[in-house]
Amino acid sequence: MSKPWGPHDVGGLKAGPVDTTDHDTAYWEWQIDAMIRLALKKDLISDFAELRDGIERLAPGDYSNLGYYERWAKSLAYTLVSRGIVDQAALDRQVTSVRKRQEAEGVS
């Protein structure tokens, strides 16, 4: 088998049993999904290929440790910062503010 090109290139790798149970989609996950659609609609990104590229560039540890919507969130952040639409320092400050708010609300 050819060498996998990135952490997303998983066809044929060995893996454990499939968890076949259905999991509800949390509202924040819908919000990530909507953000991606709106980013496309508003031409903040040009197409899905850009986001898939961002996901494939995630460090392998990130790829395997992050859930599906977290990967998309990180990829979108990377893409928008690269494009100069979002400032990295502003994003870092906002993440801190989200963390503080969550701690204040007792959300883990």
Binding site: H8, V10, W30, M35, S64
Partner: protein, 212 residues
Amino acid sequence: MSEHHHDHDRTFQPDHPEPTTEAARIGLALRELLIEAGHYTVDEEREVISAMQGATPENGASIVARAWVDADYKVRLLNNGIDAIRELGFDLQPYEFTVMENTEDVHNVIVCTLCSCYPRALLGISPAWYKSGSYRARVVREPRSVLREFGVNLGDDVEIRVHDSTAELRYMVLPQRPAGTADWSEDELASLVTRDALIGTQRELDVARKVP
């Protein structure tokens, strides 16, 4: 290129069961910045979420039911999925919509190994397992084992076709019509069709599900 035997031992790391807080915060923070900068509004967000939630497997099921009752429609559906579903008011452009028919001899199952491409307009949001590393890694290599985990046991007389949706095609399975349904209405037929049957992780449909 020679096969690297150590690749056979490589195991995909399991998806983290709970969201890793830092990455989720990045998503939430990004959202707040984009809304604050006026790129979109909370109302627009709500509208998009509502539209996404409005798409369900009932859409795909209605297409299946039409194909079952109308043989000419089935031919059109198998030959040009995009045009055929447009007749019923559905649109999946710019993708090509490709329907794979199950028969006595053939069972079809869909995957996107590289990410998780899925015909959401027709099936709703994809299940967590469809996006999972385990499904994506294993169903192309050991489909019979994976299908057994879903309760589908296929004999050697049935050919399995795994379809890897890598580019611009979106897929749906056309399940076999169950016996004893000859005089049913389209709605009654559609009520039998589940999301998993449209993906291929279910083969037999349960006539006891009929509604009304």
